[in-house]
Structures are given as structure tokens and as C-alpha cells.
Symmetry: C2
Subunit: 124 residues, 2 copies
């Protein structure tokens, strides 16, 4: 089950990278939901979600850097690569019956570290 | 294995919430590494990492909202609750022999959504 689910998640990014929207849509439950908690944005329904990806206003490619999957859920960390450079995207997936029922994205940005109490915190 | 690893990860947050630093330290590999990619901060070694948590300059409590675990890795999403309010923390764990060998934290902040191409993006 976890292996099938890992295959499902890897195909999600592979079909998106290929711009193969019929194959991409085939991985999604019809009533799937997309969430971005940082902006409190939501999309309901796979047609709208596919349209959101299909009409993205710049060329991009996702490279998976972490992937953890269990029987019902998954997470990927991606490098989201555009002409502007690299962003990090963290996507949580809810899975049911071999389809994706929810995608919840986080986009953490770089920030200046606060003053730390302990001296063992290095910069790299 | 995944069940044992889920127990390990839940004890990580439970012992931290309890301020039980000896028990917390017992979950960590001696040469564990802590990473914050957004600030490019790193701590090497469990004594330093425990000190980092133990001396945190404000009272806090973590509540797990998502947890995914496999045989070698895990992720939690937490509500990090302080007097100031609630932050979201996403922690990736590398696991080996029943101990945590790496913790990699992301702290995604709220941001204003960009103009979207599709009209199906709602706010909630």
C-alpha cells in the first residue's frame, strides 16, 4: 500500500513536470481539496485544481528532495525551480482508494535568524 | 518498525512538552544534527541540541497536527503555542536504530497571496 502510494505521489510530480494534465487529473479524486494555510487559500474540485497548475504564469519544474508515505498520507519536499531561482515547497497529501483527496502546501521562505541563547548554533 | 518510530516521534514532543530533558536526550543519537534551512542554522551533537530546547527563551507547548512515519523517516506538523500565539512548525526526522539522527525544521509564516490566474481560488 505504501509502495503504491509512493508511486502515486511520484507520478503526481512527474506528470505535472511533463505537463501531462490528463494523466495528472487521473491521480486526483473528483472532489479533492487544495489548501495553502499560509495564505488561507483553498480550491475545491480537481478540474479547478488542474486549471490552477496548468495556467501557472511561469515555467517551473519540481524536484523531490524528501518523500515520506504511509497507507493514507504522504509528504514531499520539492525544489520548485523557475527562472527566478529555487523555492522550497512542502506538500501534504491525503490518499484514499489510490487517489489524492487533499493537497496542503507550505512555502517556507528564508528569514534572518533571531538572537540565539546557545552558542552551538552555527550558520552554514 | 513504523509503529515504533511513531512512538519515538510522539515521545520526542511529549518529553519536550514535559521538560523531561533526560528522557528527551535518550531519544537522540549522540551525533545527531539539527538543521533550519530557512536560516541556514545548524547544531551538531545531542547535548547542544537539548540545551537549545532547554533554554528556549519563552514557555511553549507543541501540539501535533500531522504525523507521517515510515521505517527510516518521519515528519510532524505542530502548532507551536506560546503567549504570543500560534506558529506552525514542520519537522523532518531521520531515524536509525530507534534513535533520532537528524531533525530538520521549517517555520512557514503567513503571507499575502499573489494575484491568481484562476477564479476558483477561495480564501478561508
Amino acid at each position: 500500500m505504501s509502495t503504491l502510494n509512493e508511486d502515486l505521489i511520484r507520478r503526481f510530480w512527474a506528470t505535472a513536470n511533463a505537463g501531462d494534465w490528463p494523466a495528472f487529473e487521473g491521480l486526483l479524486s473528483p472532489d479533492m481539496v487544495y489548501l495553502v494555510p499560509q495564505t488561507r487559500e483553498r480550491i475545491r474540485g480537481r478540474e479547478h485544481f488542474v486549471e490552477f497548475f496548468r495556467t501557472w504564469p511561469e515555467a517551473w519544474r519540481a524536484e523531490i528532495t524528501r518523500c515520506i508515505v504511509d497507507a493514507q498520507r504522504a509528504v514531499t519536499v520539492i525544489d520548485f525551480l523557475t527562472e527566478r531561482g529555487r523555492d522550497t515547497g512542502i506538500s501534504f497529501f491525503e490518499l484514499q482508494g489510490g487517489l489524492i483527496t487533499e493537497v496542503c502546501d507550505f512555502w517556507p521562505s528564508d528569514y534572518e535568524p533571531p538572537q540565539r541563547v546557545v552558542s552551538a548554533v552555527e550558520r552554514y
